[in-house]
Amino acid sequence: MSIVAGQEHRVEEHEATATKTLGFWIYLMTDCILFASLFATYIVLREGTYGGPGGRELFELPFVLLETIILLASSFTCGLSLLAARKGLVKPAIIGLGATFVLGAIFLTLELGEFLKLMGEGHSWQASAFLSAFFTLVGTHGLHIAVGLLWVLVMIIQLVRQGLTSGTIRRLGMFGLFWHFLDIIWIFIFTIVYLMGVI
């Protein structure tokens, strides 16, 4: 009896995980549409510099390449953490999350540094339509990264206190989707905003 009940419980749990993950995936798809609108706005307004400097004068490509590689590395460590968690290894999972947090925090610090530098030179979002669109698009991505960092911290605390349960593994899986998704959005920011900005 207890075996049957246990199996039923496991099947229910699996279905709950599948349903919740699908729900989170649909949220990510709607988030893609949000970013699509911001990309469209940026592409339309990118020439509207109001006589001020454009991307060619403002963007520093080596700096942005560094940001890109750091974010990509954090996406990789996040994947490794998830893999360790699915193998039942708590410690490597926590270390992977820690690395993800550190790399993500470095990325966000670099990005905020770039924003402050632009604003310090008088190129804030009020200066032109191009800069409004730039700060909105890149800033929205940065806000997602900030929320992701908070999520990593919560996950680390949960893994330390609760260990690997079906609940924590499920939430870790969703965090993985979120973080990989943000890396994909960044590739398009790197290509459309920065690389095309200096061409």
């Binding site: 649909i26 798809m29 893609c32 699509a36 609108s37 996406s75 790197f190 095309m196």
Partner: protein, 127 residues
Amino acid sequence: MRDEKQAGKGIEDSAMQRYVIGFLSALVLTLAAYGLVVGQVLTGAMLIAAIVVLAAIQLVVQLVCFLHFGSKGADARLHQATFYLMLIILVIIVGGSLWIMANLNYNMMMSPEDMDKYMLEQSNKGF
């Protein structure tokens, strides 16, 4: 039991391989796009087309290697269906916006130069 364990280990190894392959190819694709722009190997529309293609390849690489897109099963199919729906909406939003905005000056019966002049006059009035 032992076979099951080994099969499980095989899946985990291939998952690990996927992440490593995904990470390395994403790194190469990023550096390639960067190199094309900085090295000025191509120019104009060709350069833009090349880096857009590189970004699209990287999208597919990361979807498959990191997000396990394209795996089988009922759940995975639902994920794919919502993804393609999102892609259709995305093309309508981005393509439609660019199409309309590119024709805006024409449809307002103003040349881009007249439009700039008009907008400058308006902002000089201090709206």
